[in-house]
């Protein structure tokens, strides 16, 4: 009996387990919801609301690499106060929406950053803050620095500056809000 491993071949008795049934039911439900106007209707009704919620509550990962990390900390301090926009730093990638890369990623640390990105639940975005994260910055010709994080993770927002000023970071968050608003996605039908 090889049921449950891939597709059952012709002539083999199909055995339904409860798991298979659940999978099938999920598929049918998803198909109905995605293709029929019901899904579209639900999306149409909830899209704006969920989009508003998503863009107004951005949780970046509290994860500092170099100079920009200090500016990141300053941005949440009284003078610049990123909290006005609902930006709250969480420490664990599981609860974050935005990976803020705040410095040069070395070849030794590259797998770590990739793992952090993979650990984050979707929908997720990446902000490359500062020259080092964008292109390697002053260390562009170093033997151990990855020239730009966009070589191994997709980056949505680039904030130039060496280090980027806190105002620039807040501006980046607002740009990200605009980005989320433009790429409006529904609850059911993905991007």
């Amino acid at each position: 009996m090889k049921s449950g491993e891939g597709e059952p071949s012709v002539g083999q008795v199909m055995v339904f387990r409860s798991k298979d049934f659940l999978k099938w039911a999920d598929g049918v439900m998803e198909g109905i919801l995605k293709k029929s106007p019901i899904g579209g209707g639900i999306d149409f009704l909830t899209k704006d609301f969920f989009n508003w919620a998503t863009r107004n509550s951005i949780y970046p990962l509290h994860f500092g690499i170099m100079c920009c990390a200090l500016e990141m900390a300053v941005a949440s301090a009284p003078r610049f106060d990123a909290q006005r926009f609902g930006v709250i730093y969480r420490s664990t990638p599981r609860q974050c929406d935005v990976l803020l890369v705040t410095g040069p990623v070395t070849k030794k640390f590259q797998p770590g950053v990739r793992r952090l990105y993979d650990q984050m639940p979707g929908p997720k975005w990446v902000i490359a803050m500062g020259e080092c994260a964008i292109s390697g910055g002053p260390f562009y010709d170093s033997y151990s620095v990855v020239p730009g994080v966009d070589q191994f993770i997709p980056v949505d927002i680039y904030i130039p500056g060496c280090p980027a000023r806190p105002e620039a970071l807040i501006d980046g968050f607002i740009k990200l809000q605009k980005l989320i608003k433009d790429n409006k996605r529904g609850l059911l039908t993905g991007k």
Binding site: K107, K108, D141, Y143, S144
Partner: protein, 168 residues
Amino acid sequence: MMEQRGSGTPAGAIEKAPSKVGEMSEERVIRALLDAFPTAVTDYKKLKAGVLRARIERRELYRCCQFLRERLGFEHVSMISAVEYDDRFEIVYHITCYGSCLLLELITQTPKDDPSVDSVSSVWGGANWQERESFDLMGIKFNNHPKLERILLPSDYLYHPLRKDFKG
């Protein structure tokens, strides 16, 4: 509680680290070195006030460092750096004395094909990681080092990047 601890002890209330010989001048250090290692120490020089330079043979390095620490009170190794020249490696030890605040620049040479010296990490604990760093970046082998592994670069890295023949 706060009153007991006081606020900031003024300078002088705590004594300086006792140096074994007391206040030493540059000349006295050089004389002591020359007395102890008459053949090994070459090319001694006073660079500026409070800074000395001496060259020492590789085989006498460990004993010289022990002597410096135990007899002359040089308790602090500031920096261990390796420099690559066309024909040799130079390992430069900057050693400081807390008491008299002298800085001794101790230079030893190794040939290019055998870059190894005795480790001084058993003399100064602070030398441990600096020697590991020199090994990591320049490939100098330190004999009798407790844990001579790569420290800054990944452990599977193949090159010693600070050597002149390493290109990007």
